[in-house]
Symmetry: C2
């Protein structure tokens, strides 16, 4: 972690930077956004801001102003051309147990990281850790991410980049840190996320780009069997873009024309 | 927050004490215990340690040694007779996204707080926020507590102390920060927590004390209707002990003989 701001102030010691009673630490009471910095611009910045605002609204969390976030990003990216910018917004400090101190204001944590390498085509696996269902939290990029952690620590094989996750009823939902799309007879399908999963910014951009290209996207319940019968499977993530899956267990795919077309349409390649 | 240790070292500035990349903050990847200090002793200390160890095992989190935790508690309670000791244990710092850095060691955060006032008899309400079901996380006192936060912020009425929560299928599970018991025809009933909820230390002590007093406890699915027909309803919490409910909406209870008996048996009164 190279650069960090907490509430707009540069962090001198990343090892002791956040308040002990911050609700992000105490309860996971907050939200995050992970964005790509490219040529000095945060890609899809307005979409990330809109999703963050929606998350704040759904959690009843009085979030920071757009101006404060923009100032943080300008400050942390000064002199940086590329990389990853992660924003964390928590409900702030203190309160009596789970109850909230009405006078508390939200905490902003903004960090810059170097951009990770991302292959365009990857291997994936099935995770055994399931996602619980709760419509009240579905779609939101909140800080309660134990299920994803438990899924990600299921494997150590560096050749496998991602793991697909089902919910407790067996519906296909997502990868540990990506949304999933399948192609079947020329149409796109992606889980509707009515019970769990994160509504990714790249997911929305892909649905939009597909519509512009005349490809219909069906947001609906999907099941593991839908992967087997798909002509193409790809993952979307705001930082890593679109990555097609070349193999899951013994099932292989040799080409990914729709993923390529959409990557090109979104200027990701 | 008056006193705090992070990994055994006294915190100089509670406003900047925890690492930015601590997984407790980033993902809620950790556990906690809230215990009562009384006459210089942590009440039910061995039970709290056992639950913490069980949580670490279930999350695959290499936790701190009992010796390190005991040393922290001894250090923070030096000169203190009473109060609340909260322990947080996280999976430590860093890692690549949700993935874990194999070299990371867990973070210990130990804080002392003054003891809150706790009435023996309280008013409660029904919360509309539901708990999602996931057997993989059920029973564990982990740091993913957004559902409890959303339930607790549903009301501001200071006359109401607690809110009862159902899961997404409508089963009665707990209060926002307590387990729930009902009495019916002389027997105790409490939710079995097979899908969600925290397996409280005080809950276990109450079941044990009831058995010693010849009262059978049924751990099984309960529903809101079971509250209406109960002769007595009480909540259990490691710090606040046993609190009987005197009123929920229009339903009132005028006495709580079983709660009184168990409080006495456990030396809580």
């Amino acid at each position: 972690m190279t650069l960090a701001l907490v509430n707009g102030v540069a962090v001198a010691n990343a090892g002791a930077a956040v308040a002990l009673d911050d609700r992000g630490l105490q309860y996971g009471d907050g939200l995050f956004e992970t964005t790509l910095l490219r040529n000095g611009e945060v890609r899809f910045w307005s979409d990330h801001l809109a999703r963050l605002a929606d998350g704040c609204k759904r959690l009843g969390l009085p979030g920071p102003s757009v101006e404060a976030l923009a100032a943080d990003v300008a400050k942390i990216t000064a002199g940086q051309s590329d990389g990853v910018i992660k924003l964390i917004v928590t409900r702030g400090r203190g309160g009596r147990g789970y109850g909230v101190d009405a006078k508390a204001s939200s905490t902003r944590i903004v960090t810059w990281h170097p951009e990770p390498a991302a292959a365009k085509s990857i291997r994936a696996r099935w995770c055994t850790t399931r996602l619980g269902r709760n419509p009240a939290l579905a779609g939101i990029k909140h800080l309660n991410r134990l299920e994803q952690v438990l899924a990600r620590v299921e494997w150590n094989d560096a050749a496998i980049d991602e793991g697909l996750m089902l919910d407790t009823e067996g519906e296909l939902i997502c990868a540990t840190s990506a949304n999933v799309f399948i192609v079947n007879e020329g149409a796109l399908y992606t889980p509707d996320l009515r019970f769990c999963g994160i509504r990714g910014v790249m997911r929305s951009k892909v649905i939009e780009a597909a519509a512009n290209a005349g490809i219909v996207t069906h947001e609906e319940p999907l099941w593991p069997e839908d992967i087997d019968t798909a002509s193409e499977v790809f993952l979307t993530n705001a930082v890593r873009g679109i990555r097609s899956i070349e193999r899951i267990d013994d099932r292989e795919w040799n080409s990914a024309p729709v993923a390529s077309l959409l990557s090109h349409a979104l200027g990701l390649s």
